[in-house]
């Protein structure tokens, strides 16, 4: 079955090859002979033989000198094979070989050869490994010798050419040459592309290249490079005529025989695998990090709509039209009821100011942001309950009692001066840290309920533990047992509860948001490595539903802001939407090329943001299941996401230790914030969306100013002691200027950050005993 798939898919490509075969015989023959002579003169016996084989089999299959079986074996490594999830990957190459031998008849060989695609006579020419080294050396010299204004433009070319050269060498079986090439040239590229380079360095045999996803993406997709018009013409000039670059005489240069072949090798990669996105802007205007957004193997990262190829993420985001990012509508009845309750309470409390609270019910519309209407919303119950009213009332009260955080106040004041203290108090939050002690194998997640009465932690040992933060007893109202037994249970209820059910590490937890800050939550969702999500009732402290559907570990789970729905993210490259009353999923959001690591709902629950190990974040329309925005720019897997409460920004943190801020409306990157020295585990916006707080594996909590422009950090001379610590720790100052404060913890990686509606910041993490490994 699986072996038939490539044959069928490539059947379209067979006919042109056959049709052109006679032409090839005539026109290529003379060239082939030259090539063969050349190869013989250089002593490449293997290559010569391969060329022989390929020529003989492709041009004239009736005159066969090699047995079919032998040919299949030699070609097996080139065979393309669709990756099937759930397969034992270690058996893949063996399987292919076996399948090929079983179907070893001439027509299928024909198909196989047709499917080879790129393996042709011209590529055999590029077989000499020294060409590539020489070519890359020349290119590097040229890039480094170019004018400063062009350097940022030209540098990104080096990486794809390096990758292709390396992969070509490996694929052709020049393992030593490939390793030598890698060792020589990778150090200069390592700072930017460490992850990819490491992955490529693990590929050692042709079969690895054939089966590796990333290598195949390099082979099949165009690597996009953005370049200005003048820069591009310079590059073309150098490639065709050898203008610029190193001085003549310094190396063999482009006049030498070797240099020519090196240039030809680069030309081949440029023609076959690169696409230049030529812009009219001058190179000088490009910021140093801009290449991240527009460079890379983009075509598969951007969802392609019916046949029209979309060149870059911005074009895609623009083509998807406007989003409705405003706050979700509240039904008139609910609003009226809420107003009534607030009025009543203000009369009872004799608090005349409470009358003005009503303004909080109608948040001011932000110009340029469209609010969704009732009809846009996913279906919710038509009538509201007392709970909803209580939640809305509490929301208004929270808004009134909120601590206003104005990080902008900090920017103009010297923090050491007398006014600095006051500015700090106005600009920075109070942070309360909850530290878990004596955690055995680790607690991957820890979360607070919206009303901060309960904290839950998921453990690697497959269980979940709940703690009452108010030191009250967590009661269970049992359904079945009545009378004395129930009373007994009540008696020995304690402030902590253990929920057992999963059979793998618990990676994510989410409390139901329906009660808001007015009521304790009634449900808890958990996601685990056992590929299930579970719903727990906090009334009975028991597991109510098991949601099966994902094929692989579920990394993240989150409730929709209005309850009922929730979303999961899994290693099976999908995110899914569920509702609590069904055990099967409602929507599957597929399109990411790798694990979906994190998932977050937009505050109006119309959109869903996902972050993935394919280095991108996406925004999906919850109801249509379509991707509406793609955010490209991270240089590593994404580890955390947060959407601002005003619904306009997405913050994402990646393994490249950067936090990116994206404008959801346009899909463009607002800024890149750096300063963390290890993975970022959690992000959270303050209630006014003016501040972002991040925490991670470097045992720090950091506060970022969302509104400021950012940019490389000024050398701050002992303004805040905390920041100087961080600076001395990582050796160099890579903090951007929008980092407001850094609060180190004691050996506690921060796994969760939670802003209460009143702008108190809670962080949670588990203390690492120093002697644990």
């Amino acid at each position: 079955m699986s072996a038939a798939t490539p044959a069928a898919s490539s059947s379209g490509g067979v006919s042109p090859t056959n049709a052109s075969a006679p032409d090839v015989t005539q026109s290529v023959n003379s060239i082939d002979r030259l090539v063969l002579e050349y190869l013989r003169s250089r002593g490449h016996k293997d290559a010569e033989k391969a060329l022989h084989e390929s020529l003989e089999s492709s041009v004239d299959e009736s005159v066969k000198t090699v047995s079919a079986e032998e040919l299949i074996k030699s070609l097996a490594v080139y065979a393309q094979k669709p990756s099937r999830p759930g397969d034992n990957v270690l058996k893949e190459s063996a399987n292919v070989l076996q399948e090929l031998t079983t179907m070893g008849n001439p027509p299928s060989i024909q198909n196989l050869i047709a499917s080879l695609g790129t393996v042709g006579a011209e590529e055999i020419l590029s077989v000499d490994p020294t060409d590539k080294e020489e070519g890359f050396r020349e290119l590097e010299a040229w890039v480094e010798g170019s004018l400063d204004m062009y350097k940022p433009e030209f540098r990104p070319i080096l990486f794809p050419i390096f990758c292709h050269f390396h992969l070509d060498l490996v694929q052709r079986g020049f393992k030593e040459a490939a390793l030598r090439f890698y060792d020589t040239y990778s150090p200069s590229l390592a700072p930017m592309h460490h992850a990819t380079l490491h992955h490529l360095s693990t590929l050692l045999l042709p079969s690895h290249v054939q089966n590796d996803d990333l290598a195949q993406r390099f082979k099949n997709e165009k690597y996009v490079i953005r370049m200005s018009r003048s820069g591009f013409s310079l590059l073309v000039g150098w490639l065709t005529e050898g203008i610029g670059g190193e001085a003549s005489g310094a190396g063999e240069g482009f006049s030498g025989e070797k240099g020519k072949r090196g240039r030809a090798a680069i030309m081949r990669v440029v023609n076959n695998h690169l696409r230049f996105d030529v812009t009219s802007t001058s190179g000088a205007a490009v910021s140093p990090n801009a290449w991240e957004e527009s460079t890379g193997l983009l075509s598969s990262l951007i969802p392609q709509t019916n046949a029209s190829a979309i060149p870059n993420p911005h074009a895609f985001n623009a083509s998807k039209g406007e989003l409705k990012l405003g706050p979700a509508p509240i039904s008139e009845e609910l609003r009226a009821e809420t107003e009534r309750v607030i009025r009543e309470q203000s009369v009872l409390d004799r608090d005349p100011n409470a009358q003005y609270d009503l303004q909080f019910l109608r948040p001011p519309a932000i110009p340029g942001v469209v609010s969704p209407t009732e009809s846009d919303m996913p279906p919710h119950p038509p009538s509201f309950k007392t709970l909803d009213v209580q939640r809305e009332v509490e929301k208004v009260r929270d808004a009134r009692k909120r601590i206003r955080l104005e990080p902008s106040a900090l920017s103009s004041v010297d923090l050491n001066s007398a006014q600095g203290g006051a500015a700090r108090a106005r600009g920075l939050p109070s942070i309360c840290a909850y530290t878990l002690h004596d955690v055995g194998e680790g607690a991957p997640c820890c979360t607070f309920s919206p009303d901060i009465t309960v904290m839950a932690a998921g453990f690697s040992e497959s269980y979940i533990r709940l703690w009452s933060l108010k030191n009250e007893k967590l009661k269970t109202s049992s359904i079945k047992e009545s009378g004395s037994l129930a009373k007994l249970q009540q008696k020995d209820a304690c402030t902590t509860r253990k929920l057992v059910g999963h059979s793998g590490p618990v990676y994510s937890l989410s409390f139901d948001p329906l009660g808001g800050s007015a009521m304790p939550p009634r449900y808890l969702l958990s996601a685990s490595a056992d590929a299930t999500a579970r719903l727990w009732s906090l009334d009975t402290m028991s597991n109510v539903v098991v949601f099966r559907g994902h094929q692989n570990p579920v990394w993240d789970v989150q409730w929709s802001p209005m309850g009922i729905y929730f979303a999961t993210a899994s290693r099976d490259r999908t995110a899914r939407l569920w509702s609590t009353d069904r055990t099967s999923c409602l929507r599957i959001y597929a399109g990411h090329l790798s694990d979906v690591d994190c998932v977050r709902f937009h505050p109006n629950s119309l959109y869903l943001a996902t972050g993935s190990s394919d280095w991108t974040a996406r925004l999906w329309d919850v109801q249509r299941g379509a991707c509406v925005r793609v955010f490209i720019g991270h240089q590593g897997s994404l580890s955390a996401l947060a959407i601002s409460p005003d619904g306009r920004y997405l913050a994402s943190a990646g393994e490249d230790l950067a936090i990116n801020l994206w404008d959801l409306g346009s899909g463009r990157r607002v800024k890149k914030m750096t300063g963390h020295t290890a993975s970022v585990y959690s992000l959270s916006f303050s209630a006014e969306s003016s501040m972002l707080v991040s925490g991670g594996a470097d045992w720090t909590v950091r506060c970022w100013d969302v509104r400021s422009a950012g940019g490389p950090g000024k050398p701050r001379e002992s303004t805040i002691t905390e920041s100087t610590i961080a600076r001395t720790l990582d050796g160099e100052n890579n903090e951007t200027s929008d980092l407001l404060a850094t609060f180190p913890t004691k050996r506690t990686p921060v796994t969760n950050i939670h802003f209460t509606p009143r702008n108190l910041c809670l962080v949670a993490g588990n203390y690492l005993a120093p002697d644990s490994r």
């Binding site: 203290g421 004596d438 002992s718 180190p744």
Partner: protein, 471 residues
């Protein structure tokens, strides 16, 4: 044949997983004729597969919010790759590999590693060790920041003083054990850590200038071989300079420690004697400086003085001088502070009396005690020597005709009671009145010292009368 071998040798260098290992495995399975090409490409493939598994396992590590891969991550990775996991590995106690000692008869085998199994003696464990159940997971809450300021509480890492910044350069928090952000072990050395923190706090109070002054001062005073001009200047500074109050506890501690170390070593050498002298000078200088508020530290200062005074074996060359100056210092201290501390002199008296009267004390101690009494004053001498019977005790211990510092000190003490007359007139035993005096003085002073006094009639009478006056 030689050519492929050379090539193979090169491949050995490149990979982590060597083709030798493949051969070893093959041999263990009974495959002896494995060609080099096969072994090398198998090794490459194995390496690739290992990387694949590790890459997968690292994802599980990241999602478990850890920074080290554990065996459970590998297990999970194998599971999702549809490979049977490796059983028998437990992340709770990761196996510790130890390197075996090289075999003497096969030197070129290479390193052999083995899993170290600890042997547990059940009897011993059951008898001695109390196996405590590990505590369950618990949580604590603290303020990481209050309105943007990190409070200095034990739960937060201590703020690093600015001048230490340079010392803690590039050291990632994971690897650094001694870094203040990462105290070595909270459970075991909480006390130690608190001490460290307190010290740090005090250091912040003490200005740099004072710290510098302190180090300069102590280094110019001790060791005593340093040139005397410097020492004199240092002592003068101590005697007169204002603003040293913050240093006082450190100085007193330094003096106390200095005395202890000098006396501990038996105090026989010249150097010890000299350093003791210097330390006593320091004490007196501190006492003389009237800008210092010394009273809270008296209890720390007194042991140093009294130890010097009463120590049994002082270096012979310095003994008398040391005891005398210690006594002088003591007297100065008492005159200054006995008004504010009424109980001070009785307490010191008691100490001295015990040293003087109680049996099996060395001569040195007795001498010191007497000198101390002399320092305290006439009244103390009378009480100690005469009423307490100190003279008799000393006299009984002295062989007739003996001289020495002890006897001198007693004589000096008696001088205090009544100065000897300029023109001594000896007592006449035949004279009736004189005989009575002799009788009396023998009774009070004991035979030994009574005889010493016979030469001066006025003195004897004076001593006796002073005793009588008081009683």
């Amino acid at each position: 044949m030689s050519k492929p071998k050379a090539k193979a040798a090169q491949t050995h260098q490149t990979g982590i997983y060597k083709s030798d290992s493949v051969r070893d495995v093959a041999e263990s399975l009974g495959i002896t004729s494995l060609s080099e090409a096969v072994a090398s490409s198998l090794a490459s493939d194995v390496e690739y597969r290992i990387h694949q598994v590790i890459e997968e396992a690292s994802r599980f590590m990241r999602h478990a919010r850890r920074t080290t891969i554990t065996t459970s991550d590998i297990d999970q990775a194998l599971r999702v790759l549809n490979i049977e996991p490796l059983y028998g590995h437990n992340p709770h106690n990761p196996p510790v590999f130890r390197r075996a000692l090289p075999f003497p008869n096969a030197a070129n085998v290479g390193a052999v590693y083995f899993v170290d199994d600890e042997e547990i003696d059940f009897d011993r464990v059951l008898r001695e060790e109390k196996i405590t159940l590990p505590k369950g997971v618990s949580w604590t809450a603290h303020w990481l920041a209050v309105e943007g300021v990190q409070p200095l509480i034990p739960e937060n890492p201590p703020a690093i003083p600015k001048d230490v910044d340079q010392e803690i350069t590039k050291s990632p928090p994971q690897t650094n054990g001694t870094f203040p952000l990462t105290p070595p072990s909270e459970s075991r050395s909480t006390v130690k850590k608190q001490q460290q923190q307190q010290q740090q706090l005090v250091k912040q109070v003490l200005s740099r200038e004072l710290q510098l002054y302190y180090t300069r001062l102590t280094s110019s005073l001790l060791p005593p071989t340093a040139d005397s001009a410097k020492r004199t200047a240092a002592l003068a500074s101590l005697r007169n300079d204002a603003g040293l109050q913050a240093l006082l506890p450190y100085l007193i501690r330094w003096v106390g420690e200095g005395v202890v170390t000098a006396l501990k070593e038996g105090a026989q050498s010249e150097a010890d004697g000299r350093s003791l002298e210097v330390l006593l000078d320091v004490v007196s200088a501190i006492l003389e400086n009237n800008t210092l508020f010394i009273e809270p530290y008296l209890h720390q200062l007194l042991p140093a003085i009294l130890s010097t005074l009463l120590h049994s074996t002082l270096p012979p060359s310095h003994a008398t001088h040391l005891r005398t100056s210690a006594a002088q210092t003591l007297s100065r201290l008492l005159t200054q502070h006995s008004t504010t501390y009424p109980s001070l002199s009785p307490r010191i008296m008691k100490t001295l009396l015990v040293a003087l009267i109680s049996s099996d004390k060395s001569k040195g101690t007795r001498e010191g005690a007497i000198r101390g009494l002399v320092g305290i004053g006439k009244e103390a001498v009378r009480k100690g020597l005469v009423e307490g019977g100190g003279v008799k005790v000393v006299g009984s211990e002295c062989t007739p005709g003996e001289t020495g510092p002890l006897v001198d000190s007693v004589i000096t003490a008696l001088h205090i009671l009544h100065p000897p007359s300029d023109m001594p007139e000896s007592l006449d035993a035949t004279n009736e009145g004189d005989a009575k005096t002799i009788e009396q003085s023998r009774e009070v002073l004991g035979d030994f010292f009574a005889e010493k006094l016979y030469g001066d009639k006025d003195w004897v009478l004076g001593v006796l009368s002073s005793i009588k006056q008081q009683s």
